[in-house]
């Protein structure tokens, strides 16, 4: 037991005598290796490599011929520590970034390790860069990757938007994993014009953008969940044109219908997110 808790004789110098490869040395290009940061791993009096990897005496000591070298306790090949313990190592310092909500969140329940998403030795951690973050998330979120490859999507694959613009990966179970408190508030960060309040509101808009939009991607422009007019007719059935069955008779080659073609219902009811016009109760003004 004493062997497992003993630290190496010379700290990082012990480690670097073997681990002098490019990947390992990249740690010195990161904020994890700043000598003046007294709370950082390489600050004065800190445990250097062993701050994160754990006591390394057994791992760095002499090994008899034929014996297997003991694994480093954390973040090595064949780690001996539990996933929870390894995450705990990161959280010791990153409480401010991650928050305690992590413990009650979805990712730890799914046994996701910090190191599954983050590369602490990388000068530019891919999950922290807008242009590369989505690919990291898609390693597990396969469905979302497929959705973003659909014809109409937010520009994630172009590297111009990241998942964390809308989602909070570290939030707790009750916090819905959105960047803001609700789905709508998250969407309104960039689409504040939809926020209102309007004199004439459209009920689903004020409650849940996801009732009409598929924000990860869709086969329909505007990332709509369904094609209009059927999307609108799933909630509107008033006598007259809202209730008619729009058939192929209304296609361009037959009797072109303004209820079906172009913007469909939105040819006239264009203020679907709400209208602030005194005569706009039908969302046409």
């Amino acid at each position: 037991d004493g062997q497992e808790t003993d630290y190496s004789r010379k700290g990082a110098d012990t480690c670097l005598s073997c681990h002098d490869d490019e990947v390992t040395l990249a740690i010195f290009k990161t904020v994890h290796a700043v000598p003046s940061d007294s709370s950082g791993p390489f600050g004065h009096g800190q445990l250097q490599c062993e701050s994160c990897h754990g006591p390394g005496d057994a791992h760095s000591g002499r090994v008899r011929r034929g014996e297997e070298r003991p694994a480093i306790p954390h973040f090595g090949s064949g780690p001996v520590a539990s996933l929870e313990d390894q995450n705990g190592i990161c959280l010791e310092c990153h409480k401010d970034d991650v928050g305690f909500g992590w413990h009650t969140g979805v990712h730890p329940s799914d046994e996701v390790a910090c190191a599954d998403c983050h590369v602490s030795h990388a000068p530019a951690d891919a999950v922290m860069q807008t242009s590369t973050q989505a690919e990291v998330c898609f390693d597990c979120h396969q469905r979302q990757r497929s959705e973003t490859m659909k014809a109409f999507s937010h520009p994630l694959l172009q590297g111009k938007m990241d998942c964390s613009g809308c989602h909070s990966a570290h939030s707790d179970e009750a916090a819905t994993a959105f960047a803001q408190q609700t789905l709508n508030a998250s969407c309104e960060q960039c689409h504040a014009e939809k926020r209102g309040p309007f004199l004439w509101e459209h009920a689903p808009v004020s409650e849940d953008c996801g009732l009409c939009h598929a924000p990860h991607g869709s086969n329909h422009a505007g990332m709509l969940t369904q094609r209009a007019p059927l999307l609108c007719q799933s909630c509107h059935s008033a006598s007259g044109h809202p209730s008619i069955a729009n058939t192929t008779d209304g296609l361009a080659a037959d009797l072109p219908s303004q209820y079906l073609l172009g913007q469909s219902c939105m040819n006239c009811h264009s203020q679907v997110h709400g209208s602030n016009h005194p005569s706009g109760s039908k969302l046409m003004r």
């Binding site: 009920a203 073609l261 264009s270």
Partner: protein
């Protein structure tokens, strides 16, 4: 540990400056709004470009900067850094081009920022076929916008326990949107100019230790539109004429959202228990002055009840979560969330002027929608063996709404999950569950007051029974350089109480990933997905029982593959990526007429191929070659020519048939230090 002799003599702490800059030219073979969307490569031609990134470091400070696509409309620049453990700051600027259509055309002339006028000599007609001056006045007008985002923020660590943060972000977005302009039985699709500005401010303070924290945050989002209204002259002729012939719509009103959030958490020593809680209280205000009821001075509606909405919404969000390990092999989680949108906007009776011509004579009451939503989740994990975890949970969601057909609805869900690791390299994760959404009652009288068929059940307010299952398999053998994962899901929704509206829905999806580290320097990946979403709905032309039925079926297949090879012949890196996605929407409408009416398939096909080669000529100099080919085609019966529909003057957006070859050649140069210096702590 005694670290007095831990000298870190071999530690190559970064010190000094290094930067890589790339100057290049890119040739784009075709105009394409779709391919230029977000990338900025929307027009045929040659683009000059500059990219770069750099770092500066000394014993105390770290700074990084990044320049991206400076020659394009998607340019971005960012500087971030600071003194780790003391403070960090970030300044960023980026632009995002939104390109929708470049095939659109209009007769409208933008005479002022808020007015679209008819061209001189316009000949109005009752139908588009009578627009004899159309061809002479049709002007190409691309639909799209540009977003500019400026972001500055930072964090100051007063001590290990106390930190302050501040962020400011300004977003400006301007361009043209498609806006439908109704004129009684006709309509025009208008290229509406817009100019939005959103400012966001976020201040926070946090105090915490190893056991817990408390934080306070103030967030402000202020949206400005600049103008309350937007006018256009209508091109159709009516007898008698409709009003003055100039109509007006309201623009999105200016609004302001503020929110104060308090959050706390504590890790108890007993049973690994962690309790977290947060409470946010916000307010949305909107007091943009109203437009008049009509642009027609010949009408005399009653005075507006008030000059502005004075919209006032209080928001409340409360979240509590608890996790604990009461037994060695058991973990329980409990969470509760409450969201409220308390819309305190006053109600009044409002007249309505129909297409600026007729008073409706039937004043209407505005309905300031609000809701309360409470969500309870309870779950437990039990490690039956070290390799087998069983989980189960119960979720309950209650929503109370104002001014809607259903005042109160409850959804209860139960689920189970099994995670099994038969070996260190294999994981099987199976989950399944059901949920039932019940409503107190569907207020058919209220629905009738809105003019809706009382048999309709709006799909988000309807009774729903859902069953679903998820499966995930992964295999990552330690002795082979490959990993494979497969995930699938099925879901089935039944709206058994709905006679009209959505009556059923189901979903199926499978996705697979394969990756192979061919060697230390090369790798290969492959991913593929299949997805299908179907829904059934019904309607009634006779305003009675269902007399038409429709099905809407979205099918997708996606494929991605790529290769990475480093240091070919020692100095060339290769990256090859290919993506393909196919989408098909099948719509059937079944009426009393014989046979089923099947629409032509709505199709989209996207191919994307990119080859990148980087050549290191020396430690400082390099070259890059970047080839992209992209093709996007759609078959879409809703897209039409400008005058296809007699009652609709459209913008003529045609289905996409875009392909573009993008060739880039760049030169890289590294400035500053080539290798990090060694300095002592």
């Amino acid at each position: 540990a005694d670290t007095s002799e831990w000298l870190c003599e071999y530690c190559p702490f970064e010190s000094g400056y290094t930067a890589d800059y790339s100057v290049g030219v890119t040739s784009v073979s075709e105009d394409s709004a779709y391919i230029g969307n977000a990338t900025g490569y929307d027009e045929e031609g040659v683009y000059a470009n500059l990219d770069g990134q750099g770092r500066y470091a000394n014993d105390s400070y770290r700074w990084r900067w990044r320049l991206e696509d400076l020659g394009l409309d998607s340019r971005a620049a960012e500087v971030r850094g600071g003194r780790p453990g003391k403070f960090d700051v970030r300044i960023a600027y980026r632009e995002l081009p939104r390109r929708r259509f470049d095939s659109t055309a209009t007769i409208f002339v933008q005479s002022t920022a808020d007015t679209l006028s008819l061209p001189p000599g316009w000949v109005a007609a009752a139908q588009t076929t009578g627009f004899t001056a159309l061809d002479a006045n049709l002007q190409n007008r691309a639909i799209g916008s540009d977003r500019r985002v400026f972001d500055i923020g930072g964090r100051y660590l007063r001590s290990e326990r106390l930190s302050f943060s501040a962020d400011y972000r300004r977003q400006e977005s301007d361009g043209l949107k498609i806006r439908g302009g109704s004129s009684f039985t006709s309509a025009s699709l208008l290229p509406m100019p817009f100019d939005y500005v959103t400012d966001e401010v976020d201040f926070g303070v946090r105090y915490g230790d190893a056991r817990g924290f408390v934080s306070l945050r103030w967030y402000l989002s202020d949206f400005e539109n600049g103008a309350a209204g937007f006018r256009w002259q209508q091109p159709f002729s009516f007898s008698p004429p409709l009003g003055t012939g100039t109509f007006e719509q309201a623009r999105a009103p200016d609004s302001r959202f503020q929110q104060l959030s308090l959050a706390t958490a504590y890790a108890f020593s007993a049973y690994g228990t962690v309790l977290s809680a947060s409470a946010s209280f916000g307010n949305i205000e909107q007091d943009t002055a109203f437009l008049a009821y009509t642009t027609n001075d010949n009408l005399s509606p009653e005075p507006l009840p008030r000059s502005a909405l004075n919209g006032d919404i209080d928001t409340t969000n409360i979240a509590i979560a608890l996790t604990s390990r009461p037994l060695d092999k058991t973990r329980v989680k409990l969470s509760y969330r409450f969201d409220e949108r308390d819309n305190k906007t006053a109600q009044d009776l409002w007249e309505r002027v129909i297409v600026d011509s007729v008073l409706s004579g039937d004043p209407e009451l505005n309905t300031p929608y609000g809701f309360e939503r409470a969500t309870l989740r309870l779950s437990a994990d039990y490690d039956l063996f070290a390799s087998l975890r069983l989980s189960g949970g119960y979720d309950r969601k209650e929503i109370d709404r104002d001014f809607q057909e259903v005042a109160s609805q409850t959804e209860e869900a139960g689920w189970g999950r099994l995670r099994w690791r038969p070996s260190a390299s294999v994981e099987i994760d199976v989950r399944g569950g059901t949920s039932q959404r019940d409503i107190d009652s569907y207020n058919e009288v209220f629905a009738a007051s809105l003019g809706e068929n009382p048999l309709l059940r709006k799909y988000n307010l309807a009774y729903r029974y859902r069953r679903y299952g998820d499966l995930r398999l992964s295999w990552s053998p330690a002795d082979l350089p490959v990993s494979v994962s497969l995930s699938g899901r099925v879901a089935d929704d039944e709206y058994t109480h709905s006679q009209l509206g959505i009556t059923a829905g189901d979903e199926f999806g499978v996705a697979a990933d394969f990756s192979w580290s061919v060697s230390e320097r090369s790798s290969f990946y492959l991913n593929a997905g299949v997805e299908s979403m179907q829904s059934q709905q019904s309607g009634s032309e006779q305003f009675a029982a269902a007399d038409w039925y429709a099905s809407h079926d979205d099918d997708f297949t996606t494929l991605g593959a790529g290769i990475r090879v480093r240091e070919i012949s020692g100095d060339v890196d290769l990256q090859l990526d290919y993506r393909r996605s196919d989408g098909t929407t099948k719509i059937d409408v079944d009426t009393a007429e014989p046979g089923t009416d099947r629409f032509p398939d709505l199709r989209s096909e996207l191919d994307y191929l990119r080859l990148r080669l980087n050549y290191r000529r020396s430690e400082r100099l390099g070259m890059s070659f970047d080839l992209r080919y992209q093709r996007f085609e759609t078959a879409d019966w809703s897209r039409l020519n400008v005058t296809t529909v007699p009652q609709l003057l459209s913008l003529g957006a045609s289905p996409y048939d875009d392909r573009s070859l993008i060739l880039g050649l760049g030169f890289h140069y590294r400035l500053g230090d080539l290798s990090p210096a060694v300095s002592q702590p």
